[in-house]
Symmetry: C2
Subunit: 331 residues, 2 copies
């Protein structure tokens, strides 16, 4: 059962804001979230530069509120609602960073958030979501059960669904990090983000090309969840697959609008094995001194693997999050 | 055999620059190292603030060149030399961050660095020092052997000894981080640094009180190496002790000028157990997303332990370094 089927359902029901955001909407999002989001630093490392033979600029979204870029999109969605909508709250289904981000974003506006979580989700993550003030709704660990529960919560509360990635408001929010990065670093030649559902990659593509249409765009995807790479290769979106990767943030099927954005912005997706990602993660911890989660490390693994694309260039790498179980490191 | 005896020897031989730096010398140091050192960011965490009930500003020297504040002092010492002295190079004995920092600082001036290291030192650290271009001199793992070897290298090469902490140039360099911090954060009420040999604590005390004589100064020391706390309590410096702590950066006996600086600047030293430090380290990794070494975590452990000193105040905490063996974390 793929995330796609849910998106199709929701699109039919008219509940999903599925189109792509414009560059202007990303600029509006930046203004909208500015009072709440952190302007994250950009870090560099002479050793990592030397290793790749490029000028690497790491955008540290592990230092974003909630420890991940997801707060940007959730915050933009929450503050895009009119007062009547807002009063009815927001809902999503995610046991990961998006659920936590939506809970935190709702708290900034003082509105209710409902997060549907499957039985068996990591307890620490659920505690964080509850601590942020959201109401948890437990359901069976299947996609169908999650959607049914989210729909039920919507019916009961009138709350607004904020999809983790196939939502223009969310994509616009994620894209704001590129506006920041391109103010912090002049004349980037290339940008690379991880690709999961594609909310980040698509928002960043639109933002980057809104500023510099010549900027080269790359995505990094685990070999065990390379649906975006395969979809781009065959020119049409794969509609179902089974993820097999340690990168828990990148297991989703790429969304339909997200795929269209990657295709139209000529994003090249590089696939990396989990072993390559874990080695890259350790290097980032050691040299950059940043706690980043495994999904974040795919971008550096990809740059190391295909350095011919990056050598001699000024490259932005988005480190997406730092929510790691310190008692279960992958090395 | 204590570091103190070595200092006394060297002072008698006129080789050690043992006095305290003035505030002006710290300002000069800041200008001197500016082309080479990193202006490190100051990070915050709403959760850690809430935990302590204070406004915590973490100065991230784990992001300094070489992964530790030590580069500041070493760089100031190297660039304080006149050309004739510089041509003969520099020498120190340290298998830790100072050895690496001196090697890196010497490289910025294109001069030779000699680092005396005891047999049995961590191989990764020695490789880093060699990679930075220094000449390693191995000796038996006793303080006497280290000093003898350093003296021998000095005789053979005419190189300048740069002591890790009982050196005014080094103290002045370490103090520059406070000039930065107090530009980055207005109206700090209190500052806390770890205390080992005291180069950092003394340089920071002079810098801080040069700007704001009312600023409250704190040090954090492992219970198993609490010579500074004991020395301050009895009003005279302990001259020998045996360290027993996991905090490898804080095992040195406090230097004589360093002790005088702490005493005259009314620095209050808080002692923390290794267990408290490890718990604080994990919290810093989890909430601040920073890879910091165990010695760095003493400051946060001290603030957590004696929060009555800090509640409601704006506190600067110096995270001294991030050079950690990721395969041997202490939890």
């Amino acid at each position: 059962m793929s995330t796609d089927l849910m998106s199709a359902d929701l699109m039919r029901s008219g509940l999903l804001r599925a189109g792509l955001p414009s560059f202007e909407q990303i600029c509006d999002a930046a203004a909208r979230i500015a009072p709440y989001a952190t302007v994250t630093p950009v870090l560099r490392s002479a050793r990592l530069d030397a290793l790749v033979g490029a000028e690497l600029h790491f955008k540290c979204e592990n230092l974003q509120r909630g420890g991940a870029f997801k707060f940007r999109g959730a915050c933009n969605a929450v503050w895009s609602l009119d007062d009547a909508q807002a009063a009815r709250g927001v809902v999503t289904h995610s046991s990961g960073n998006h659920g936590n981000a939506l809970a935190m974003a709702a708290a900034t506006r003082g509105i209710s958030a409902h997060v549907v979580v499957p039985e068996g989700a990591v307890r620490a993550k659920l505690e964080a979501i509850e601590q942020a003030g959201a109401v948890l709704h437990r359901c069976a660990p299947t996609q169908a059960a999650r959607e049914a529960m989210a729909a039920e919560v919507q019916r009961q509360t009138g709350s607004e669904l904020v999809h983790p990635y196939a939502d223009a408001r969310v994509m616009a929010g994620q894209g704001t990090l590129v506006l920041e990065l391109m103010r912090q670093v002049e004349a980037l030649d290339a940008l690379i983000t991880p690709v999961g559902g594609g909310g980040l990659a698509s928002g960043c593509a639109i933002a980057a090309h809104g500023i510099d249409p010549a900027l080269a765009l790359f995505g990094a995807e685990p070999l065990g969840a390379s649906d975006a790479a395969q979809s781009l290769a065959r020119g049409a979106r794969i509609e179902a697959f089974t993820a097999d990767t340690i990168c828990d943030g990148l297991r989703a099927l790429i969304g339909e609008p997200n795929f269209e954005a990657l295709r139209s912005h000529r994003t090249q997706v590089i696939t990396v094995s989990d072993e390559e990602t874990i080695a890259a993660m350790k290097l980032l911890w050691r040299e950059l001194k940043q706690v980043v989660e495994v999904s974040s490390a795919t971008v550096f693994a990809a740059v190391l693997k295909q350095r011919e694309h990056f050598a001699g260039r000024r490259v932005g790498l988005v480190l997406t999050g730092g929510n790691v179980d310190l008692d279960a490191l992958p090395w």
